[in-house]
């Protein structure tokens, strides 16, 4: 089954151009971050690590990195546990309205971020959570948890739920059944969800802008502030490091995907 040669050439050309468009800005940032001067020009006139040095020695960037990782780790833990539990529950239960429940739980994905952020700011202020790291973790968890839920639900599709029901009905304590039977079988899905959650939290900006306290800068927030105030290649060094993180996430998620497909297709 083949396309017309001319059509195929046209399609491949378009695809190459689009993929180049997608990759070029990021590659440019990586190259520019090694610029020896403040001038950001291509091609670069030399190579220097001074902006990385600046990143690692400037207190605010280090602090922002620390905040970002603290929040991302806490968010990942919370989202992974809650999301996995709920996904197993959804798979186990036999009741009506499951689809509605899933829609409800994944609603944060399709709600405009700015509305979510504004609403959280209103409500968390009343609850005393605005301006605290706890509030920030809660906010990030809300937008990260649907990814965990969906990743684990997808893996569970391939897992024989009868096995679990059997274990549960044979008198095995339910938590033992879940921990010994389910989790070992679906861990690639759980891990993939966790990677999603971590990446989402690390990337999150708008909710952070509203919910974070004045001193609580995360990497995206610090980048945004720096871009608006004073554009230096240090921002590009930060961007490159974040880009590196995203490559790691991609590798991890692909590895997990391969693992789970191999598992389900023996």
């Amino acid at each position: 089954m083949r396309d017309h040669p001319l059509a195929r050439r046209l399609l491949r050309g378009t695809t190459a151009l689009v993929l180049a468009f997608l990759m070029a800005p990021m590659l440019a940032v990586v190259v520019l971050s090694f610029s020896p001067t403040e001038l950001m020009v291509l091609p670069p006139r030399g190579v220097s690590l001074r902006w990385y040095e600046d990143f690692l020695t400037a207190g605010r960037w280090v602090l922002a990195t620390r905040n970002s990782f603290v929040v991302a780790i806490a968010t990942t833990l919370l989202a992974t546990v809650l999301g996995t539990a709920a996904a197993i529950g959804l798979q186990l239960g036999r009741f009506r309205g499951k689809a509605l429940l899933v829609t409800l739980l994944t609603l944060p994905l399709v709600t405009p971020y700015i509305v979510t952020a504004a609403s959280m700011y209103f409500a968390y202020s009343l609850a005393g959570l605005a301006g605290s790291l706890a509030g920030l973790v809660l906010g990030h968890t809300v937008v990260a948890v649907p990814f965990v839920l969906m990743a684990v639900l997808a893996t569970l599709q391939t897992f024989d739920a009868n096995l679990l029901r059997a274990a549960a009905s044979l008198g095995a304590p339910p938590w033992a059944a879940i921990l010994r039977v389910v989790v070992p079988n679906i861990w690639p899905g759980i891990a993939a969800g966790a990677v999603f959650a971590f990446a989402t939290s690390l990337d999150e900006f708008v909710i952070t802008l509203f919910l974070a306290g004045p001193g609580q800068f995360t990497l995206p927030r610090q980048m945004y502030a720096s871009v608006r105030e004073f554009l230096t290649p240090t921002i590009l060094a930060a961007a490159t490091l974040l880009f590196l993180c995203s490559l790691i996430f991609l590798l991890a998620s692909e590895a997990l995907r391969l693992r789970s497909t191999r598992k389900t297709q023996p």
Partner: protein
């Protein structure tokens, strides 16, 4: 099972919640930047009442309101703009200044209000690069005269200050600006003046932008913060700063309501507005203190020719009450104009 699984997270959440509740150092918040670095050394570090932590904010009062509403006050003393001070005082966002702790008599007229103690003045005025433009506009009528003074202009994106400038550019005397701007005809006139200038204007949103626009030559004449322009001049830039076009206002120190360190905060305000530490600060930075003894100190004035306090006589003080009343309306109208 659930309990065992959830226990670490409950503990984690509690741990995170508990952080702000811990006893903390007295916290003071200002606009940041190099000025705050100097304030830290001369004002905050010299406070005899104990350690002071300082942090920066962007003058948006939303977060302060949120923390007061939530009863989770993590800032004690804040530097605020005049309209935010007045509204915040009416709303009970700021504590009343304890004038038995802070000496009321040391401030310039208007520097001591119910909830605020005068901190420093700031202003905007026309400046340009003399190397590029030997003869630039010396007043707002000339700033609006694009035939005699061709080239791009830059002004702040927003109604406040821009509308006053537009009226003065249309020939209204500074003393009459707010009277005229309060009338529908006056507002019409201001926007009509802006209409004429619009093809030549680049609006800025951050204080560093006008400096960069003028440095790069993208803009010939800009209205920018005098403090930043003065620092540029001290660092060797050849700016002509037209003091006759000054619009200025004073920021104040206020104590956030419900601060557990309110009493200590009052003592800090008394310290950082007293002449001795402020005199030290004037050696490092050309500030515009509201403390009379320092603002009118002939030595300080002579030492800092670029100090705004030397030039306020010919300038226009921004009318706080006017902007509290007309701000929401005129800002929306400005946004509407900008988007047309």
């Amino acid at each position: 099972m659930m309990r065992r699984l959830l226990a670490p997270f409950v503990a984690l959440a509690l741990g995170l919640c508990a952080v702000p509740a811990l006893a903390r150092d007295l916290t003071i918040v200002a606009g940041g930047g190099a000025l705050q670095d100097h304030m830290r050394r001369t004002l905050f570090a010299t406070f005899p009442g104990g350690p002071v932590v300082d942090t920066a904010y962007d003058y948006n009062v939303g977060p302060i309101r949120a923390m007061v509403a939530a009863g989770n006050v993590t800032w004690d003393v804040v530097m605020v703009e005049a309209p935010d001070l007045v509204r915040g005082c009416e709303d009970g966002i700021f504590e009343r200044i304890d004038w038995s702790v802070v000496d009321r008599g040391k401030f310039m007229p208007g520097g001591a209000t119910t909830c605020g103690a005068g901190a420093i003045g700031w202003g905007v005025s026309v400046f340009y690069d003399e190397a590029r433009h030997p003869n630039g506009p010396s007043n707002f009528v000339e700033f609006f005269d694009t035939a005699r003074f061709p080239g791009r202009r830059s002004m702040r994106r927003g109604a406040r200050m821009t509308l006053e400038i537009a009226l003065m550019g249309d020939g209204v005397a500074p003393a009459d600006v707010y009277k005229v701007l309060a009338t529908p005809q006056g507002q019409q006139r201001a926007f009509a003046a802006l209409d004429r200038l619009r093809p030549h204007v680049t609006f800025w949103t951050g204080g560093q932008q006008p400096i960069e626009l003028v440095n790069s030559g993208e803009v010939a004449y800009a209205v920018g913060f005098v403090g930043r322009v003065a620092n540029g001049i001290r660092a060797g830039a050849r700016y002509n700063l037209r003091w006759s076009t000054l619009l200025y206002a004073y920021d104040s120190w206020a104590v956030v309501r419900g601060s557990p360190n309110a009493a200590q905060g009052m003592r800090l305000i008394e310290h950082i507005t007293s002449p001795a530490p402020l005199l030290e600060l004037t050696r490092l930075w050309p500030i515009n203190p509201v403390t009379q003894a320092v603002a009118e100190n002939p030595d300080v004035r002579a030492r800092n020719p670029l100090m705004m306090s030397n030039h306020t006589a010919g300038g226009l003080e921004i009318d706080t009450e006017f902007w509290l009343e007309h701000g929401p309306d005129l800002e929306q109208r400005f946004a509407s104009w900008l988007n047309r």
